[in-house]
Subunit: 527 residues, 2 copies
């Protein structure tokens, strides 16, 4: 069933001569499937097919594209338990997580189907002509969002379903009317092939043009580079490391025609615990956070890697309880030996920094590729002066910074890099007297949380998953929720265009019944 080949449009293809295997981190052995890397010609072919498919696919109605998205969800579901097994064998993630992430992925596809079927997302705007206006007649102008062009999506290591092959970026791009070329993540290439097969079957069943979707394997960086530099490609979606995302951004910015790269990258997700909360419930907060830090082996992009508080008895109690609690958590398996290795390396590097104190370190023997969680602490001054401590340690690692006073806390927040999230833990009204801290934090993040944990990214329209650089390369767009479709469209204006040749969204008759801004008023009426 798993061939190890690429999908160049609807065709399985393996013309390259480089192969690789994926790895089962739980069993600590290679998986059986031999995956063939895409060749230069195959990349070109996928890009040519995507450009060809764009001509028709970008013009399809929302209803037609919705049928396609729903069929993808159905085909993925139809893969049943086998898909879940392959997923776990390539990620070490447990069956429950596989089921949950598959549900999230199907939910995203169906949410986008509903979104484009409803149709309001095109932001239709109509200003009718005023031929009698003085001194100049006013022309008729009508504007709506149209698809940008073929999109390349890079699969993420930590979400083989929800941020990979048929994940959020793909669903958003296909919903917008953009063909998608996947640069499959090498750690879960077989999972990717199975999901790609589902997408291709859905495309064939619903009559989509060949080239609307391709899936390319690679274990190195060449295929990704070739895709980002390809003139046929008009946008890139990426979830992963700062180094990887920035490299793609730089490649795209150097093109003759620069294209947008939406890279959702690293984050340490600062959590600020205010003094009264520390005084009143240090233990409870510590227990909650020992769970959040170790959730999914700390492999979520919203993992709380930095906890900030002002020195006090409460803070001392918090770090003590956190240290006690976190070692009670059973260490779990990371996605891949490389990721487990990087965790050990980055953890050791952090721990070796002057002034860093290790509060808790799970010391017992662990199975291969399992991560020992660590909580560390440092003085505010030391943190401010050592940029290394501001960098993410991907895994179940957290650093508690003990600030000497509120002014230093504010200074530290002001000096943080951009973050996906920021959290304030506060008792009752004490947040109201901390408006400087809240303002400073808001300026560094994409989402701010009150009395909660940053892990858990709800898929809903009001979610903003992104943030100031380097949390993402473009803070003006979310990577989660239906608004992520906005990354892959551009507004387009028709001037004095014949009514019968306008897209349905802009016709006088409003055949789709969508909400439009007509001469400055929202309306779903005809004109």
């Amino acid at each position: 069933m798993i061939t190890g080949k690429n999908y160049i449009g609807n065709q399985l293809s393996a013309n390259g001569n480089k192969t690789f295997k994926t790895f089962n981190p739980l069993l600590n052995i290679e998986n059986q499937w031999e995956i063939t890397e895409a060749s230069t010609n195959e990349v070109d072919e996928a890009a040519a097919l995507a450009t060809q498919a764009f001509k028709t696919y970008s013009k399809l109605s929302g209803a037609k594209k919705a049928t396609f998205l729903r069929a993808i969800a159905d085909e993925i579901e139809a893969l049943g338990d086998e898909l879940l097994q392959v997923y776990s064998s390539e990620s070490g993630l447990p069956n429950g997580r596989a089921i949950g992430e598959r549900g999230r992925t199907l939910g995203q596809l169906r949410a986008f189907a509903n979104h484009i079927e409803e149709g309001n997302w095109v932001d239709a705007s109509i200003d009718t002509a005023q031929p009698e206006r003085k001194p100049m007649p006013k022309v008729d102008l009508r504007k709506m969002n149209v698809a940008l062009g073929p999109v390349v999506v890079f699969g993420a290591s930590n979400f083989p379903f929800a941020f990979s092959t048929a994940g959020g970026d793909t669903a958003a791009a296909l919903a917008a009317g953009c063909p998608v070329i996947i640069k499959s993540h090498p750690m879960h290439a077989a999972t990717g092939e199975m999901v790609s097969g589902a997408v291709i079957r859905a495309a064939e069943k619903t009559g989509m043009p060949n080239g609307v979707f391709s899936n390319l394997n690679s274990s190195g960086i060449e295929v990704g580079q070739q895709l980002v530099e390809h003139p046929n490609v008009k946008a890139v979606g990426f979830t992963g490391s700062i180094r990887g995302g920035r490299a793609l951004y730089d490649l795209a910015a150097k093109r003759e025609e620069p294209i947008p790269v939406f890279a959702e990258m690293g984050s340490i997700n600062p959590v600020v615990i205010l003094p009264q909360a520390l005084r009143n419930r240090a233990d409870a907060i510590a227990k909650t956070y020992s769970g959040s830090i170790t959730l999914g082996t700390g492999q979520f992009c919203t993992n709380p890697g930095l906890i900030l508080g002002v020195k006090s008895e409460g803070l001392s109690k918090f770090v003590q309880t956190l240290a006690e609690e976190i070692v009670k958590v059973e260490p779990s398996c990371m996605l891949h030996p490389n990721i487990a290795g990087a965790y050990e390396f980055n953890k050791a590097n952090a721990i070796s920094q002057n002034g860093l104190e290790v509060l808790a370190n799970y010391e017992a023997e662990v199975k291969p590729n399992h991560a020992r969680q660590v909580v560390t602490t440092v003085e505010g001054d030391t943190f401010l002066n050592n940029p290394t401590l501001h960098h993410e340690v991907f895994g179940p690692f957290s650093l508690v910074v003990q600030c000497k006073d509120e002014a230093q806390l504010e200074e530290i927040i002001f000096n943080l890099e951009g973050q996906l999230t920021g959290t304030i833990i506060s008792d009752d009204n004490e947040i109201e007297s901390s408006s400087n801290i809240v303002s400073a934090l808001q300026n560094r993040v994409g989402r701010i949380i009150f009395n909660g944990v940053p892990t858990g990214v709800e898929v809903c329209p009001s979610m903003l998953h992104g943030g100031p650089y380097p949390a993402s390369t473009d803070s003006r767009f979310t990577a989660v929720g239906v608004d992520s479709i906005k990354r892959f469209v551009r507004p387009f204006s028709f001037q004095d265009w014949p009514n019968q040749l306008l897209p349905d969204e802009l016709k006088n008759e409003n055949p789709l019944g969508i909400l439009r801004n007509v001469n400055g008023k929202l309306s779903n009426e005809t004109i």
Copy 2:
């Protein structure tokens, strides 16, 4: 009244030791005012003030910011005729144009005031909590657009009012809640100082924080470079040449924290005349286009520099009439000797290309800095094979490409660079049988026009002024109309945030009465 100094926030300042003068192209003499370039320290100071001002300005209500924008418009109006005279003396543009462009500028400022006072533009979205949801409770999430940070605006040479000091970019950024630092255009620095004075007076009268606006003079590239590289700056607006815009884009992309550059650059605005239209009304079209090509001395970014048709009697007649008509237009003055010189240089370079035939060349003596209009023609094959002919000649220059057949016409369109506009001239229903040509053109432009001229950019919500690169650096945003505010904001999410601490736009009570997406339904109700 004109001091030649910079505005560093509310203070006139001239600490630099480099000075320059502007030029009156009509009189062909230097203007009297001595302008002092901003020093490195002054740039830093303006940036520091802008970051400080951002803290409070970005939090002001739409109503408060609207008062400021309206006051700017009033203060500019209060400058009366003196401002118009300075404008003309620094641009060579006639008084009528000055009055019209001032009206456009005031209209833009007031349109943005209305837009932010109404308040729906923040795209408020609310998903309320579901504490009972299984398997996981749903958190409360609320999202809205917030200001990005200090914005640098580069004044444009060809619109000293509408795309400069208090032009569209500035109005959009201030409306969004972003302080603005102007890199004043060296060709109209005195006009810029007068308008800046109006902005500063408006800021003081309406109680805006010092640093919400600064105006920096420079005749070279150093001040602009320093601004774009400054860590306090979060976005850039620019209108001008491809070379200039791309240089700024490259600088911004190389920053440690890359920032968006919205550069609206060159365009040759292709016009396709379909066969039947050529057969039936070649003369009338030629007359219309001789006006459009020479309008404003060809110095509009939507100037029609490329006219495409299939060889026919009709096309021959069109070029003949266009040649006859265009020399009847009285040559007019360009903005500056440098621009007139560049026009002569680029025109000569185009004319020297193999296979280019000059159809009409105004040959009589002209006054200094006045532009002789030219119409040229070339075969489709020659055009396809010579990229030089695809480049803009800024000024009253147009090239008619005679294609051998419809297939070649489509190929030429397919191979064009990105454009601000594309125009189809068609008789009755002939456009319906040209859907390939229309599709190809749509894919290369930001706005498509039926039976009109591309010159004339209506300021209204349905206008898209921008287009695929190199028409602009980001085709996903317009530079004209209230939607241009979207360039300078980012969406931001609040999770489980206390109602009384939310911005008014997201409070349960909906005190502003704005339209919000509440649990997937648009509503202006309370929650």
